[in-house]
């Protein structure tokens, strides 16, 4: 049974259709990366899947339960770490995890034991009795993740878990997510970072302006936008001659300047020796050479016509009248 099934899911806010009838399917044990710029509809989708927001159209099932008709069963099956770690700065880390254990229906003794285990797991035992307000951003995210794991959920929703974190904290979160997935937890991860989706996700859905524009494994998606290319630095004056020499070995890409030649090749690294040999035979010195593979940003540009990173405003639901209650 798939962990998440979404069919024609919609959410409007007044006149604005924030999520425009999306379909997706996440299998058990998978990490699904939901990639998109700010304002694309990622958080709105997560809020519907976690029963925090009613859809205005379509349907969605999580862990085998309908998010509207069986919302409570959905909530018992999922762990949620939302975009802005929803932590009370006046509570201590230990108090928060124990409260979460109570909310998930764990008996008191079991909840205390689980809190200690989880604080240890996310390396926060040393700060467990300090107030959360004094935690760093990375500590808050780890605590939020620990809270989401209290009841060993089947499906874990992580909404931009590393946004704003330094590289070391980001890597720690990635390792923890990977470890959870290795233990069998299905992870639905929203992100605006290409590298995050590329590193972690088994499958990626790319959402833009409320629509899923591409879906597949990172490799499949990158394969759709073309072959890797070799980036050769030969010096400004040698570019025309170098392009003439290598043109028959692949497909030339438009010049970027700075003495570079860009050549799209079919066999990736396998084509490098003959390119270098051809240039050597022509007496053209190669200052540097790099094999560049397509990125998810290339996929995003191909599908939407604009780049993923560094765009968009703050994501959030537009203001407007509420839809009818379900």
């Amino acid at each position: 049974m798939p962990a998440i099934v979404v069919e024609g899911l919609e959410r409007s806010f007044g006149e604005v259709l924030a999520v425009q009838g999306i379909d997706l399917r996440v299998e058990e044990g998978e990490i699904y990366g939901f990639l998109g710029p700010n304002g694309a509809g990622k958080t709105t989708t997560v809020r519907m899947l976690t029963t925090l927001l009613l859809p205005t159209g379509g349907r969605a099932g999580v862990a085998g339960f309908d998010v509207v008709a069986e919302a409570r069963q959905v909530r018992a099956s999922i762990g949620v770490a939302l975009q802005e770690a929803a932590l009370d700065p006046l509570m201590t880390g230990r108090e928060l995890i124990r409260l979460q254990a109570t909310l998930q229906g764990l008996p008191t003794a079991a909840g205390r034991k689980r809190a200690d285990e989880l604080l240890d797991r996310v390396d926060l035992s040393y700060a467990a009795d300090r107030r959360v307000g004094g935690y760093s951003g990375g500590m808050k995210r780890r605590l939020d993740l620990a809270a989401a794991l209290v009841h060993e959920p089947r499906v874990l929703f992580l909404d931009e878990p590393t946004t704003g974190l330094d590289p070391v904290s980001r890597k720690t979160i990635w390792e923890e997510v990977q470890a959870l997935n290795d233990d069998g937890t299905t992870v639905f991860l929203t992100t605006q970072y290409l590298e995050e989706a590329d590193q972690l996700a088994d499958n990626v859905g790319i959402i833009d302006r409320g629509l899923i524009v591409a879906e597949g494994t990172p490799e499949e998606l990158k394969g759709e936008v073309g072959n890797p290319h070799i980036e050769l630095t030969v010096g400004e004056g040698a570019v025309p001659e170098a392009e003439r020499v290598v043109a028959e070995l692949g497909k030339l890409r438009p010049r970027k300047g700075d003495g570079k030649v860009l050549l799209e090749v079919e066999n990736g690294a396998g084509d490098i020796p003959r390119v270098v040999r051809a240039l050597d035979d022509a007496g053209i010195a190669v200052e540097s050479l790099e094999l560049v593979r397509p990125t998810l940003d290339d996929v995003f540009v191909e599908k939407t016509g604009h780049h993923l990173e560094g765009e968009g405003g703050q994501e959030g639901e537009p203001a407007g009248e509420e839809p009818a209650a379900a």
Binding site: L90, R131, E322
Partner: protein
Amino acid sequence: MSDLRTGARVVGALGARSIRQTFRRPQLISPIVVFPTLLLAIQTGGAGAGIELPGFPPVQSFLQFMLAGSMMQSMMLAGNSGGIAFAVDIEMGFTDRLFASPIPRFAIVLGRLAGTAALGLFASLWFLAIGLIFGAHIEGGIPGALLAIALITTSAIAVGGIGAAIALRTGSASVVQGLFPLVLVVLFLSSAFFPQELMVEPAKTIAEYNPFSFIVEGVREPIISGIDATQTLEAVAAIAGIILLGLGLSASALRHRLRTG
């Protein structure tokens, strides 16, 4: 574990959190304790001779008369503080954590009210202690004191329900905080700080129908003369009415918030 037992545990845990939150945030606890205590000190020091006025109910001292009003003021500010804290939870997304948990969602409101009730209990004990330390008699004895405590504690649930409803509806701590002056207006237009018999119109008529006058008289009577069944019942009826209003408004605001996300 039954749903009811789980719900009770959740309400208890959320209530305990809201009490901790209040005591750890000075701006929430100071209006409940400091402001009413100062007002009590100023009024008893400056207007103590008021008990000599013709028509003033027979009391041992002005402090004895004022205790019920101070308890009411503290309790109402506790309800207001509870509403502010709830709105802060909404603003910072903490309520999303609660809404995403497999608990009856109204337990979230009840948890907040349990915390407010505990603050009402604290307020009543605080002012009874002050009264006793500074020589006020509790004419109704221990049963009278317990009745006053019970009425203030349940009143806190009533007022807290209205604070919670406003917090849920607006999701804005500043809006709830803006109701602070209204709390004082409602109190000063009741018999909390002055006998109804000595008021002038239209304040007298307003106080006569103000439900908080019924509550304050129900609290005051066991302190200044002894338990009176009629006044107790009137106070209970007023509290019940406000509780129903507060819970009804809270339920409606909660539904609205869950629809709009």
